[in-house]
Amino acid sequence: MLTKQRINGRGVLVLALILLLIAASLLAVGAGKVAAAGELLRYGSRGESVRQVQSRLNGLGYWCGTADGIFGVNTRSAVRRFQSAKGLSVDGIVGPKTYSALGISPSSSSSSGGYSSSDLYLLARCVYGESRGEPYVGQVAVAAVVLNRVKSAAFPNSISGVIYQPYAFTCVSDGQLYLEPDQSAYNAARDAMNGWDPTNGCLYYYNPATATSAWIWSRPIMLQIGRHNFCK
């Protein structure tokens, strides 16, 4: 009886292991939802629109922590305080009325030399994916290389075209583009969009410690910032 029980126990264990394996192999990991401009923003929303709202709330004195693009508890509480002060229905959700009271147009696009705020968000993600951990000027330089490519005839003519060009940027190939950028990446992207270019027109960069392309080594190095060599 004891043996039988043990056998059954083992069988169940093996079955459980197999099921676990199958379940693990079939398990797909969901990603956080990124809010698009103009969408209702609520607890759990992420993205540039959230960041804009946070920045505005902070500016108006409804402190909600660092504008990190993540709608968390602090942001919800700040939205509620703002709604209550403005006589709006206090639901902690940013809809058209709250947008308008904040003085933000929900479908807003910014005006940094012809680039929109969705471009800013994409560029900030690229900067963060490619160069977090680099000195600030190195992050501006990476953003500037993207914009120099947009201006060059040898590359696609839009920010999204350049960033998503197959195999152009490692962070796009390995998924680091999906990380939420920090404030420094935003600032660097905005500096570059406003015309700061520490590379003075470079189109390529590589980390000499990790670069695998033989071709890239043949390019003359224009300058070195942090761990990256920048070339034309």
Binding site: I7, G11, S110, Y136, S152, A153, P166, N194
Partner: protein
């Protein structure tokens, strides 16, 4: 005991069988989906290939047709078609990038031809004569397009026979196909430098900075200049970090202030500050006038007669653009940009490349029309609010004098740039507000 052992093995075998069957189904499903992905990728490449060859063919035909027309409306039509074909060829080419490889020479060719066609289109539409050398250039571009077509042709035969695989491994292109694409990168499709008034003109690469004089300084002298010029902005601790050689030779330094570290770039010739930037950290709230701070700062750097023309604030940073003013005209190419901490008002960045490249004392022609003449003119629905003279950059790196007419139409803000002698529009800009941008007129 024996029976129970047999039972145990039977159960184990059954479980293993079930496991193997499940794994088999799983592997089969994943292999099928892998095959689907692979087919999908190859279909994408195949579509891009057809789009590329067809577009290059259309581009060539339109460039050739230009030989037999002297009619400007016809020319406009042909150049518009050529330009659209080039855009389509470029879109197809972007898909042919692979790990460590990009069709950049061919991409440059189709983008430049598209841009040059747009330039010829613009000339023809204004009724300007297309010169003999421009006709000759169109022919040369057409024969280069023919070379591209010829080299790409063998691939089409492969596709026709079926089973041609552009890529069998993620990130790499078929070797045969790569060698064809590489053959187009190695100068076999050379064409003369294209110098014209357009954003992809080769002339832009040959631009020289007009203001860099005074002879080469040493990095130590550079560090001294930084301490002197930026010392008033609370900067200390200047460390030399290397040299840059892009447009011209520069020295790079790391600097410190109360908020953290930043970076400065100095022109080796003469020691002008090319740019500096700090990542904005929070500062103590302080009331200040951003315009005053910006003007004072650039004046201390030696930039006089600078007027603020635009500012935008976001995330606690104010960006302000200032332009040189000469004889009442705003000189847009001579621009200096300043970054200010929105909390305490101190300058945390500056960028002067455009000024260093372009600044010179210009001799501005006296316009045939006065600002009043332009004010009384009607530009579509625009309700004119202000008019002033300005020198604006042209796409090919040149500049021209124009009246800047600012006004609104249905609540939207516009700048119309008008020819100072005829009053005709030469450019229209629309202000897209969003990040609290503000015009400073």
């Amino acid at each position: 005991m024996e029976r129970s052992t047999a039972k145990f093995f039977a159960v184990l075998a059954a479980l293993l069988l079930v496991g193997a069957a499940v794994m088999g189904v799983f592997l089969n499903v994943s292999r099928q989906s892998e095959r689907q992905y692979r087919l999908g990728v190859n279909n994408d490449y195949e579509q891009a290939y057809y789009q590329l060859t067809d577009s290059v063919g259309n581009m060539r035909v339109n460039l050739d047709k230009a030989r037999v027309t002297r009619n400007s409306a016809m020319m406009c039509e042909l150049m518009m078609d050529a330009s659209v074909s080039c855009e389509s060829a470029a879109q197809a080419l972007y898909k042919f990038s692979a790990d460590g490889y990009s069709a950049s020479a061919l991409t440059k060719f189709v983008n430049q031809v598209g841009d040059y066609s747009a330039y010829i289109h613009s000339k023809a539409s204004k009724g300007e004569e297309i010169t003999q050398s421009e006709y000759a250039m169109l022919q040369k571009l057409s024969s280069t397009a023919a070379t591209v077509q010829e080299k790409l042709a063998p691939v089409r035969e492969g596709i026709g026979a079926g089973g041609y695989e552009f890529s069998s491994r993620l990130g790499s292109l078929n070797e045969e196909f790569s060698s064809i694409m590489n053959a187009l990168q190695d100068g076999s499709m050379e064409y003369p430098s294209l110098i014209y008034d357009g954003p992809f003109s080769d002339g832009l690469d040959q631009k020289q900075a007009k203001t860099l004089t005074g002879g080469e300084i040493t990095p130590e002298q550079g560090a001294k200049i930084i301490s002197e010029k930026l010392g008033s902005a609370g900067i200390s601790g200047v460390t030399y970090s290397g040299e840059g050689n892009s447009h011209f030779k520069t020295y790079l330094y790391t600097i410190q202030d109360d908020h953290g570290s930043g970076d400065v770039q100095l022109a080796a010739n003469g020691g002008a500050i090319v740019q500096f930037t700090f990542n904005c950290e929070s500062g103590e709230e302080n009331s200040f006038d951003a315009k005053e701070n910006a003007v004072e700062f650039v004046s201390a750097l030696g930039y006089e007669n600078m007027v603020p023309v635009w500012s935008a604030e976001s995330d606690g940073i104010i960006y302000m653009n200032l332009c040189f003013e000469q004889d009442g005209a705003v000189i847009y190419p001579d621009m200096v940009k300043v970054k200010i901490n929105a909390a305490d008002g101190h300058v945390i960045g500056c960028e002067t490349l455009s000024y260093l490249f372009n600044h010179t004392q210009r001799s501005l022609d006296r316009p045939a029309l006065s600002a009043e003449d332009i004010s009384s003119r009607k530009y579509g629905e625009l309700e004119t609010e202000s008019v002033r003279l300005a020198v604006i950059p042209t796409p090919g790196g040149g500049e021209r004098l124009a009246y800047e007419v600012y006004g609104t139409a249905q609540g939207e803000k516009f700048f119309v740039y008008a020819d100072p002698d005829t009053g005709e529009e030469v450019r229209v800009l629309m202000v897209v507000d969003g990040e609290q941008g503000e015009l400073l007129i």
